[in-house]
């Protein structure tokens, strides 16, 4: 064996031995998931302008504009569609554990499942809501790996018993440097991959209520892994963390905006 090959073997051995040292233990993994939630939490009110572009096979691409309102302390969420004209005035409102959809063309409220596809796209309510990963899932470190230029921790999250979520198992790629989620895979009960999401751009904004920065993904890309041709792009703009009006999260308010 030559000196060069000995060096290569030694390097490989060192790399193999070094790998477990990079692994996160359970406490670190749990902490990391909590950090992911914490970084995105504003603990006050939240308002953002959102553009949602849905692509479906054999259908014309549709772009929606909507405003997302959240009051995180009370777990309230409201989505108000403003464009296109045909969708303007439609809105979702979460009151307690119920998600309601308002259709101004009929003037009726319909109770929908919390796991509703927003506007029939690949977007779920959870994508626009507060991150509650630590509350809903138990995490396990899987590997540390490169995702493009980024070094990431790959975690596997399984739903906690008794918690109802759209996807019982998700896999996250978390940027080791920033703690931002860069990629997410969602799996069905059968284990089949249902959706892959990418979060290429993150931004931060200072929150007075939190007295710290709040991070939000400026761009989210969802790829349907069952219907491969379907995808949705979400752009989040004009995030505003100032307090919202006290009586906003009501059916009456949403109806008034729909007129």
């Amino acid at each position: 064996m030559t000196r060069t090959s000995l060096r290569a073997a030694a390097a490989l051995l060192a790399a193999a031995l070094a790998q477990p040292a990079l692994a996160l233990d359970q406490a670190e993994t749990d902490a990391l998931v909590k950090t992911v939630d914490q970084r995105q939490r504003s603990s006050g009110d939240y308002k953002a302008l959102c553009y949602m572009e849905a692509k479906e096979r054999d259908k014309t691409d549709v772009v929606y504009e909507l405003v997302v309102y959240r009051r995180e302390a009370e777990e309230k969420l409201m989505l108000l569609f403003t464009r296109p004209k045909s969708e303007a005035g439609k809105g979702y409102l979460r009151l307690d554990k119920n998600l309601w959809l308002y259709d101004p063309s009929t003037g009726r409220w319909e109770r929908r499942t919390e796991r509703e596809r927003i506007g029939g796209t690949d977007t779920r309510r959870g994508d626009l809501d507060e991150s509650r990963l630590a509350e809903e899932y138990t995490a396990r470190w899987e590997a540390d790996e490169k995702l493009g230029a980024y070094s990431t921790h790959r975690l596997l999250l399984d739903v906690r018993p008794g918690v109802d979520v759209a996807f019982p198992r998700i896999r996250l790629w978390i940027d080791a440097a920033s703690g931002n989620v860069l990629k997410r895979q969602e799996l069905a009960l059968s284990g089949r991959l249902m959706r892959t999401s990418y979060y290429p751009k993150w931004k931060k904004i200072f929150s007075e209520s939190k007295a710290a920065d709040v991070w939000f993904p400026e761009e989210m890309r969802f790829y349907d892994e069952v219907e491969k041709a379907n995808s949705t792009l979400i752009l989040i703009r004009q995030v505003d963390l100032r307090s919202l009006s006290a009586n906003m999260f009501t059916k009456a308010w949403l109806e008034s905006k729909s007129r």
Partner: protein, 435 residues
């Protein structure tokens, strides 16, 4: 009424052959149309009852919904064995029962996707199911194997699959958690109208696995009665009986379960199990509009034609009275009572009506028989509405007789006013009439 009265009426009719043939022909045409349209709607109804009560619904169904939260519902019956026990106790008229799993999922192939209303069947226990379908490709026996699916021709075409290809079903479980099942297309069946545009069938166990149902939970109990005509009474009895047995039972609502699932149940503020007792007619209301539409169009056509016939009769009798005024005057002068004159004209119209309707009814029976014998294929675009692949008219003799009697009665009734007018003529005035 004597034979002479009949002879006089018949002679008067034959005297004006051309006019009366025309009018009688119109009456025959109305009867013919009535018989044929009645045969068509009855044929559709029979086809619907035969295919739908095998594929989609029992004569009476004990289904229901289970809601984990107010906004998450699924078409389920929990503790179905107890529900079946109570049902058998309450309905001694049951011939047999089939247990089905109900569901809804998105079917995704390599190239396309579509929404499917799913029926989970146990093919070994449902021999009638095989008989209700015509296989185009594959074998129905294959549906006994797990992870298989039966699609109809249109669905296979839309999903661009053939037997042996795989499709993925994607659906949320009753708790709203996403799940999938990879299935092999085992059978492609011939379309059977609108039912086949969205319904697909798979082994009950596979569907149970997709929805993660336990042994105590199923979709619906299909009850088949010895006498399907008693469905409504049995359903009403079951509703009250099951409620007394401690079940929460939904109020009657004549809509198919999937329409209630999407449009009604989620909006209601309750959780847990509620049973929903329906009849086959409730479950097929989405089809009955077609029957109603055909009946409506038939009604309008018949009405227009009857109005034309009535005007024809009024006109014919008015002419006849005018032509025979002196004859009426003479008859009245030699002692014929007014009532008799009235009866004579009514008899005339009645005979004309009877001859026309009998001809129309016989023609109708012959045309219906000819069409049935010819086995005319129904274009696929219309199959959806007619629920038939070959045009089949069901013409029960009782309804033909009823149609003929109805048209005869209308034509006779139309003669009352001119006959009354003829009867009121004064003999002297009538005899001096120059016409």
């Amino acid at each position: 009424m004597t034979v002479i009265d009949l002879q006089i009426a018949a002679r008067n009719l034959t005297k004006h052959t051309k006019r009366n043939l025309f009018l009688g022909g119109a009456i025959a045409a109305v009867t013919l149309l009535l018989v044929l349209m009645g045969g068509l709607t009855q044929g559709m109804r029979t086809a619907m009852l035969e295919s739908a009560t095998t594929l989609m619904t029992g004569h009476v169904n004990v289904g229901g919904f289970y809601k984990v939260t107010s906004g998450t519902s699924a078409p389920l019956v929990t503790e179905w064995q107890k529900a079946l026990e109570d049902t058998r106790r309450l309905v001694p008229e049951i011939d047999y029962v089939t247990i089905r799993v109900r569901g809804w999922a998105k079917g995704v192939s390599e190239r396309a996707s579509m929404d499917l209303v799913l029926g989970g069947v146990d093919i070994e226990r449902e021999p009638r199911f095989r008989a209700a379908l015509q296989v185009v490709e594959g074998s129905i026996a294959e549906l006994g194997k797990p992870d298989t699916v039966l699609l109809f021709e249109d669905q296979a075409r839309r999903l661009e699959v053939k037997v042996g290809d795989a499709i993925t079903l994607s659906a949320p479980t009753s708790r709203g958690v996403n799940n999938t099942a990879d299935l092999r297309v085992a059978v492609i069946a011939r379309n059977i109208g609108i039912l086949s545009s969205f319904s697909a069938f798979m082994p009950a166990e596979t569907l149970r696995r997709l929805y993660r149902l336990n042994d105590r939970t199923t979709g619906v109990l299909h009850l088949y009665l010895k006498d399907p005509a008693r469905s409504a009474q049995v359903a009403a009895r079951l509703r009250s009986g099951l409620a007394q047995a401690g079940w929460r039972v939904m109020d009657p609502d004549p809509r198919p379960y999937w329409e209630k699932l999407f449009a009604k149940v989620n909006a209601e503020d309750w959780v847990g199990q509620k049973l929903d007792v329906t009849t086959w007619e409730d479950e097929l209301t989405f089809l009955s509009w077609i029957l109603s539409a055909v009946l409506g169009i038939t009604g309008i056509l018949i009405f227009i034609l009857l109005v034309i016939v009535v005007i024809g009769i009024l006109n014919t009798l008015a002419i006849a009275i005018r032509e025979r005024t002196r004859e009426i005057g003479t008859l009245r002068a030699i002692g014929m009572q007014r009532r008799k004159v009235l009866l004579l004209f009514l008899l005339e119209a009645g005979l004309l009506g009877l001859a026309g309707t009998v001809t129309g009814a016989l023609l109708g029976l012959a045309v219906a028989g000819g069409l049935n014998a010819a086995q005319l294929p129904v274009p696929e675009s219309i199959q959806m509405f007619l629920m038939q692949q070959h045009l089949t008219l069901a013409v029960p003799l009782r309804s033909v007789v009823a149609d003929a009697l109805f048209v005869s009665a209308v034509t006779t009734a139309a003669a009352i006013v001119p006959a009354f007018h003829a009867a009121r003529l004064r003999p002297v005035t009538a005899m001096h009439h120059i016409g």
